[in-house]
Amino acid sequence: MTADSTIPLQAFLTVAALLFCTGVWGLINSRNAVRVLMSIELMLNAVNINLMAFSSYLDGQLIRGQVFAIFVITVAAAEAAVGLAILLSLYRNRETVDMERFNLLRW
């Protein structure tokens, strides 16, 4: 038998929801800019778990969710590269990674 009969779909959704909420909390509360990027990666992974679970349970023949997950992984890799480049450039100019001091655009 496959995984569909032994583990309910809701279990995967619960894990993904926990991961997503942890990522949101970390995104809001992190002072370190690198940790903010890590939180974004956590949220993207949560979305990917959802996509894979739906693809396996509800769309077993045409696994379109897996194709979407591959695209999400691609975009996440590009996002990480550009985000860390921006972070390095920001660090070079401001000499800090504290999110509270990146307030140039704050009114």
Partner: protein, 213 residues
Amino acid sequence: MTIASTTQQICFLVLAATTVLGALGVVLLPNIVYSAFLLGGVFLSVAGLYLLLNASFVAAAQVLVYVGAVNVLILFAIMLVNKREDLSAIPGLLLRRVLSGTVCAGLFALLLRVAFTTRWALPGPLPVGEDATIRIGEHLFSDYLLPFELASVLLLMAMIGAIVLARRDVFASDVITGEPVDQGLIEKARSPMLLERGDTSPNPSSPLVETSR
């Protein structure tokens, strides 16, 4: 993939526990290097969850891209910006944490309610199992061909953009004329954009003065 159901459940429980605890560690641990390594653990356990869902190709891609590339990139970024700085206290930090925690708990409750009250169309069609990789290849070269090509363009743009953004504009000599370049001019031309007034000291290693807000 055929494993006994009890084994599958144990695997799922272990992977889910490591995923969630690792994510909490990523967010909560004070040392960011530990967070980065725990993030690698989270990525690996998510790849294990993908294996439980009959998706071996995406699990391999997850290990290669996330653990192999993104996590290493994050570790390099941590090394490059490695400076011990004691963060100044902000008023209302605890209130902010509690408030955002409440909001996140509410979001979690909402997601759980959606997950458990929606009547999913279960059982769906039989999973393809081992043929998933072949099916993904067919998708990528037939009906998802345009997004596939766009993804390659996106990766190229991200690569060039990352190089341009992270590059240090300091050359030992001018590329065209071959004359030595005044380093101070380049630094001065770059710095006033982001530095605040009074901070444009010629010594770049001097700590920035926190202006009173």
